[in-house]
């Protein structure tokens, strides 16, 4: 029964056009319901409190904070769902800090077309998700 349940997603990104495109990419595979949107951290915290999404899909910068600080705020507020970060250019330090502050997944926005649906499912199932480009960024930093 539970595997047929829709995954309820909150999209938090300050760029409306990208929020609209993300909705398209979640509509097509099915199994996802975008229950809300937020252009900044304040509104995202409020929506998360009201709507209790399964997954927050968040830009790596959500005004006025980066994803590491923003994630800490969601966790302080008691949010127990998954947080997946999307980034225009994944930076190793921010990836590490974000995971340290309660993020469950990190991906490059260029990978949305190929991996977004799978990434949302995987973090919703309790897994840690690192996309190929995010992993590549971390590996580059280590070498």
């Amino acid at each position: 029964m539970t595997e047929n349940k829709m995954i309820r997603v909150l999209i938090a990104d300050d760029f409306k056009a990208l929020r609209d495109v993300i909705k398209l990419f979640l509509e097509r595979p099915g199994g996802f319901e975008v229950i809300g949107e937020a252009p900044n951290l304040g509104e995202a915290l409020e929506r998360a409190r009201e709507m209790q999404p399964d997954v927050i899909l968040m830009n790596d910068y959500l005004p006025p904070n980066n994803s590491a600080l923003a994630s800490a705020r969601f966790r302080e507020q008691g949010f127990s769902g998954a947080i997946l970060i999307i980034s225009l250019q994944p930076e190793p330090d921010l990836i590490q800090q974000s995971f340290a502050n309660g993020v469950n997944g990190f991906m490059d926005k260029d990978e949305i077309a190929d991996y977004l649906a799978d990434a949302v499912r995987r973090v919703h199932e309790g897994n840690i998700y690192l996309s190929p480009k995010a992993e590549e960024a971390l590996n580059r930093a280590e070498t």
Binding site: F15, A17, L18, V21, L24, F25, L88, K109, D110, A113
Partner: protein
């Protein structure tokens, strides 16, 4: 396959355009530019069927670049995009030689239609009488 190029100075908007094109069947992204000069070079080198180009860009703006492309031997059809709406901007786009104009807030809903329309040799200027 419709071969499409994009010219947009904001990385976030380029990202949106890239993702949108990925969703369209029968469309292939052949070139990306971040200003008007690069857009003209992109057209010269890749000869795309359609160029989707922002009007407001550094170095060479989209209107000037569209004029240069219209005056060149390239058979590329140009769609200009802008955050500004209205007949005045649409008229400027048409005067620059573009075949279509669309405001950025309508890209998600309408870009596929506009690309197909101009590719078929028609014009797309809903703001103009």
């Amino acid at each position: 396959m419709i071969r499409v190029a994009i010219a947009e100075d904001h990385p976030e908007m380029r990202q949106v355009l890239r993702l949108l094109l990925r969703r369209f069947e029968g469309v292939e992204l052949v070139c990306e530019a971040s200003n008007g000069q690069e857009a003209v070079e992109c057209v010269n080198h890749h000869q795309p069927d359609v160029l989707v180009m922002d009007i407001s860009m550094p170095e060479l703006d989209g209107l000037t670049a569209a004029k240069q492309i219209a005056d060149s031997p390239a058979d590329t059809r140009v769609i200009l995009i802008s955050v500004h709406e209205g007949a005045i901007v649409a008229r400027a786009a048409a005067a620059a030689g573009a075949q279509g104009f669309i405001t950025k807030d309508k890209l998600v809903d309408s870009l596929q239609l506009v690309i197909k329309t101009v590719y078929q040799g028609k014009q797309y200027f809903p703001e103009l009488p």
